[in-house]
Subunit: 396 residues, 2 copies
């Protein structure tokens, strides 16, 4: 607890600065009165802490004008415009999206590079990240400094080392991507690598559609399919950090060949390539080509509609398996699966009902992510912000 004023006053102050900055970071803007209530600290302590964070160049205060309530309005504390920012990178198969993200989660600048579909060496991806660091630095406030780099990858990642163990759709195996990144980016910037679905659920739990939800699954549909899971309010990463690889659970051992070497994996039924193939479209899966399937399905194209419904049926079975094992309060369907939910919710619900067990299947809420396609990017920023939020003084 933070309220015990008995020992190491500086350590306690720094801890409290971290708690306060975390509140500002989560909400974007927050009044002193709200901070006082949430942190159970006195008004004068809050005032002193806000002054410290202002002095550190992290937050600004403004006095709101007007307002209908009587009395003096409470000061609003928010991130400073030239405050520190995180560099977040989302490495996907067809494009690498980078962004400078400020305290509070605002995207300050964005940089997108389209990449060819297919294998790409991790060193090339590392070079794109380095390019993004330089490009983004030109487009933020000249006084702002980056705190670190968080990178989202569609594969299993050993969080401690940043090694990508297996990213089937990038065709990466045992790639020391974290080390490669550290070699090319400016040495003062720490680098963190995480799995896309793990980072997406982190972002949605912090500010999106899972904000008040302690048991949630984010099922991410891109070319590959993976789950980010939060249990008891904490990320489920597993012993090696590889949890959530539901895309490679086998639905039918004699099913279609999968990138991973097995047959009949979940992603051969509900991944983006499956959707395009079912719709009879011999095109690469890009944001545009996937969006076109949903637009055409909504416009009455029977082949597209039927493809989405077929994916919806298989998606319901996948969701049911997760519901049986994890009994989450909510399942967020992200990436292309968001489009499937919007067009064919009834088919998904029917299939969850058919394959799900007992009461869990009735209580689960299905929804789309609040942060859209930016969830992995915003989650990657959290990796870079973590140290600053723990100790705003130490990482100065």
């Amino acid at each position: 607890m933070t309220r015990v004023g008995v020992a190491r006053p500086d350590a306690i102050r720094r801890h409290n600065l971290g708690l306060l900055l975390t509140q500002v970071h989560r909400d974007g803007e927050i009044t002193r009165a709200q901070l006082t209530r949430r942190l159970h600290l006195s008004r004068s302590t809050i005032g002193a802490l806000v002054a410290d964070l202002t002095e550190l160049g992290l937050v600004d205060e403004r006095v709101p004008s007007g307002g209908k309530r009587a009395g003096r309005p409470s000061h609003v504390v928010g991130p400073r415009a030239d405050g520190p920012y995180a560099i977040a990178v989302d490495v996907d198969i067809t494009h690498v999206t980078s962004a400078a993200i400020g305290i509070g989660g605002e995207v300050l600048a964005r940089h997108v590079v389209a990449t060819a579909n297919g294998p790409r060496r991790p060193r090339q991806a590392a070079a794109l990240v380095d390019e993004a660091v330089r490009e983004l630095s030109k487009r933020v406030d000249p006084g702002a400094r980056p705190v670190g780099i968080g990178v989202s990858v569609p594969g299993t990642v050993s969080r401690r080392t940043g090694t990508v163990e297996f990213a089937p759709n990038l065709e990466w195996r045992h790639e020391a991507f974290g080390e490669m990144l550290a070699e090319v980016v400016p040495p003062e910037l720490p680098v963190y690598v995480g799995n896309d679905a793990d980072l997406a659920v982190l972002a949605e739990h912090l500010r999106g559609n899972a904000r008040d939800c302690d048991d949630v699954v984010y099922l991410m549909g891109r070319i590959g399919v993976g789950a980010g899971i939060i249990v008891n309010g904490r990320p489920l990463r597993g012993h090696d950090g590889h949890a959530g690889e539901v895309g490679h659970n086998v639905v039918d051992a004699s099913g279609p060949q999968c990138h991973c070497g097995k047959r009949g994996c979940v992603e051969t039924y509900i991944g983006e390539n499956a959707l395009l193939a079912l719709a009879g479209r011999n095109v690469l899966p890009t944001q545009e080509s996937i969006a076109a399937v949903f637009a055409d399905a909504s416009a009455g194209d029977e082949a597209a509609a039927s493809a989405v419904r077929t994916v919806a049926d298989a998606l319901g079975r996948t969701v049911a398996s997760l519901v049986n094992v994890l009994n989450p309060e909510r399942v967020l369907l992200g990436g292309s699966l968001a489009g499937v939910l919007e067009f064919a919710r009834d088919e998904i619900v029917r299939s969850v009902d058919r394959f799900g067990m007992g009461a869990s299947r009735h209580s689960v809420q299905l929804c789309t992510p609040d942060l859209g396609d930016d969830s992995p990017l915003l989650g990657a920023a959290e990796l870079a912000f973590a140290d600053l939020l723990t100790d705003p003084v130490g990482t100065r």
Copy 2:
């Protein structure tokens, strides 16, 4: 933390008494020196707390004789012979096992009633529990008092109400079993109901083969199949308390009919009835009939051996699905699945390797439960002991 000597000394003392009793409960016997180290309290504080627990009739101390080390040997603190006990009940399909279990997890007395295979009304099961309470009370130390009743059920349970939502093999649906129990047992005894696999993993995590393991799955094979899951060192119960129903994940939607109404559920491939049918045995699944399959397989009966290997293959696929999603450090195979592991480990490992993903499948440890068939019973005792361990004074 417990060492802050600033406020509410009685609350802190009671909290520390709970921590100390929990250590005795976990280890059975423990020296004062070990308690001092583990709780980071002074020797004199430990002495005072032990004196309090002795006064409360919960523990005894003895001075060990002999020993090779120099100096005075540390006193050994252990549960008192006429101390409180939990009444634990394991409701299975073919038998209801009850036990009086003391602090430290010792089974003081046991009472087993064989029940016909097939549906049995929950009121009958409640009457058996009441009978067990009276039977067991005659067989423990006359001074000992029961603290409560914990009941394990092979089905999904709403922990708060004790309502059994669905126990397919008992054919119970939405049965207010907790209320029925409370109506028949002595009113001073609180009643708790839990799922068998959830309780089994609790017991193994406390004293068995998952003692030092924060990410573990206990896959329980009886007539039904369910998983008890611990993640980040805490039970994964899910939003409604129904997590772990892996037995009803569908392997093949056109597979064998399952009790639950669906086709091709995991338990139709690896449950006890599947094993007996594969071995060509038209008998009821009892401990004896299941043990006979494994004994015959080991003695060279080809039909039995082939049946076990076929179950092992399907079991490996089930384990692989759990490993992909949860990435546990260890998977304990309990009930009849323990026998499958002992006879056909290679087949299981091969199948986990075929259906599992990336590094997770290589790192996972497969083992049998340390507490054998008693895991659910010992876990049920934990439900009854929880209040006493939290506050040994308050529940006097």
